[in-house]
Symmetry: C2
């Protein structure tokens, strides 16, 4: 086959024609080979933004990006391998309680996660709040821990889908992030590289999510399920609410502590529900439960018996962390100052703005606006009221965790204004909005 | 003013919003400063391809590209300065006879031209067929020759609209050439840098042109006139036919020879008409004639008196060439072999495919497919019949000018097939299809 001219491939997409698998491969693999240049791929991404991609094109793009690197071979593990991916939100610490819980229930969870960027947090930052915890392991070590413990949580390595890393960096600086086929290929190429049998997707919807509206989130969920299924994986997607933060904490150490509470049988109701809903899908796809009720029952047993907490301890220990944090969470970093945010009036909390609180937490140092920034694991926002809470003027809406009480004035008004308080209560939105199941 | 984030500007265009003059300037000038990167500008160009630009945006983009370099100061010249730009075609040697003719009629013509690329020829390549002719002059020397001779024809220099050079190279490899606002800004930024008072545009329409259809060509002409007028220039655009080659020659030396014939009062009717139509617009815009009839009369006087030919001789001499070529055109390079292409049947020529003949001439060596290729000035295709000609089977349709007669078989069928011959004659399309005049 003659070398394909990247200009012709860009023009073809620009003019709304469908690219073949070979054409998409030559574009993506050409980036590493130097036959396709950054400025050509960014123009291509913009053409995709306007023209979209067919399901076949999205599947081929995903495959090409997956093929740019290694696929972890977990085939010698007897257990089903199932992972979860969230499209990102505020207060989303689900992975930290979900992975050990599902592993304790008989399904292996090989999890490659990301860091926080912008208003959304990242699993790696939350894990690193645990003293000594190392997210940078070799793939060989990752495989060993998954085999021995049942789960392991690391960051993306240079071996896995390197084309995605390069393409994402390019999209980020060329206003081409918001394209469903490009998002799907980015998510799935990384997740399929984990060597999994099945994948559950948590597609967040609402102000604090990447997808602000139900139709957008539904389109993304459908595309993820369809392309994942085309790649011979069992895939489910849940659309879950991200109009308000998930759980009652936003920050790294305080979110990790809240995830530990779930493993101990506590934790806020929405976080528990999100964990059980996603976990039961993972058990179902992993073949250790046939119905949701059965799966939920197994998960609750794994919590009550302490099995889930024991898996978490073993994983922390295997990854160099201090396993005592699970039973002694005061060993997690703690901010020097706690400052309460009083309610300005009496009434019912009718909305909590996840986006604004996420951005405020970033300003406090809990997150980053550029990929190369460090985060402060100790700081964050603890909610003391949420949608549905009845509150009296002067009672605390939230507690700020700060390096110094002198930092509080910069954040008080923003946090106060993120709460809507009215005379009448509203019925909170259910956490799981829709399910998109593969076959 | 805070530095503008290029990502925000790309997103704004992507989402169909109008960019301000300052925003477009920061994008274009940022390219040279390194604050805007190639892959950002290519994504921006693709967004412009889909979203277009308002007239104000196109004018601002033109201004930003013009501002990236120097503007030649010809203000000390007492005469009006008017140039012509053609969007490019096959056999288009008009500049070579037009510039000296208009200069001989009292309007200065400072002309910065281009080279051939793809199926279209370029003025610089045709000029370089003249022994010794130098198109690479300093701007100071250019100014002196325009002042003393009335016209000078050079290639683009690094000082003039450098942003256009960089942007065009980027568009060429990212499938973003075909965008009217980007074409308009590219043409006008270079032409306005010449220090002209007015500009006449020859927008070619048809198979051999960049714009294949009348609506496309009309949209380009209207945009050129409107943006040029917004830049305080008098601008006219003529839409002229490029379904068949202009004149009877395609190649460098043979086209230069045909242009000389026009200066001597001869030449094919369509070439003469194109030259007079554009020339009379230039005289009108330059203020030395008020009506087209008056302008045409002045141009014919300049031809008949020999004044136009004398300007050409002086320009050739000033640019290092051998001025004797004008009266002794056999001094131009001549191919070793001439091979006639016989008509396959008797009838009337109803069409001559300009695109196919342009591409064939490139294959013969007369043009280039990449900007860094050299051209053979001697080779080309001479038409011996054109639309409307009556022809008998076996009589010559064309004469190939080749380095060796052994090359002929590769081209005979292509040239033959470029001629449509039918039993009945058709009325040839008029050369000038439409006029778009500024104010």
């Amino acid at each position: 086959m003659a070398a394909m001219n990247p200009v012709d491939l860009i023009r073809k997409k620009r003019d709304g024609k469908e690219l073949s698998r070979a054409e998409l491969e030559s574009l993506i693999l050409g980036l590493a080979e130097g036959t396709v240049l950054d400025y050509q791929l960014s123009a291509f991404c913009m053409a995709v933004f306007f023209r979209g991609m067919t399901p076949a094109e999205t599947a081929a793009l995903t495959h090409a990006m997956l093929s740019s690197g290694a696929v972890i071979d977990l085939s010698e593990l007897p257990r089903a391998k199932v992972d979860k991916h969230s499209t990102g939100g505020v207060g989303d610490k689900v992975s930290l309680c979900l992975a050990p819980l599902v592993a304790a229930s008989g399904v292996a969870v090989p999890m490659v996660s990301g860091r926080g960027l912008g208003h959304t947090g990242g699993t790696l930052d939350k894990l690193e709040a645990i003293p000594g915890f190392n997210v940078n392991l070799s793939l060989a070590r990752f495989r060993t821990i998954v085999a021995e413990v049942g789960t392991c949580m690391i960051g993306q390595t240079p071996e896995l889908a390197p084309a995605d890393k390069r393409l994402y960096a390019l999209r980020d600086v060329t206003a081409t992030v918001e394209s469903i086929p490009l998002i799907v290929a980015s998510i799935l190429s990384k997740k399929l590289a984990e060597g999994i049998d099945a994948l559950v997707l948590d597609v967040k919807v609402g102000r604090g999510a990447f997808m602000k509206t139900l139709p957008e989130a539904r389109a993304l969920a459908e595309a993820l399920v369809s392309v994942g299924t085309a790649a011979n994986k069992r895939v489910s997607a849940l659309l879950t609410d991200m109009s308000k933060p998930l759980g009652l904490t936003i920050g790294n150490a305080i979110e990790t502590r809240e995830a530990f509470a779930v493993l101990h049988g506590g934790g806020p109701a929405d976080l528990v529900e999100c964990t059980l809903a996603l976990g039961s899908e993972m058990l179902r796809l992993g073949g250790v439960a046939t119905t949701e009720d059965e799966a939920r029952a197994q998960l609750l047993v794994a919590i009550r018996s302490g099995a889930a907490a024991r898996v978490m301890e073993r994983m922390i220990e295997a990854q160099g962390g201090d396993p005592r944090v699970l039973e002694e969470p005061d060993r997690l970093p703690r901010a020097e100052a706690q400052v309460e945010v009083p309610a300005p009036r009496t009434g019912f909390v009718t909305a909590v703005d996840a986006l604004e609180l996420g951005l405020t937490a970033v300003s406090m140092g809990a997150g980053r606006t550029r990929a190369d920034q460090a985060v402060d694991h100790a700081v964050g926002i603890e909610l003391m009221a949420t949608v549905g809470s009845e509150i009296r003027a002067g009672e605390p809406l939230a507690r700020l965790h700060l390096r110094s009480a002198s930092h509080a004035p910069a954040f008080l008004a923003r946090v106060t204004n993120a709460f809507a308080i009215a005379d009448a209560a509203v019925v909170p939105q259910p956490l799981v909005i829709e399910r998109h199941l593969s076959r």
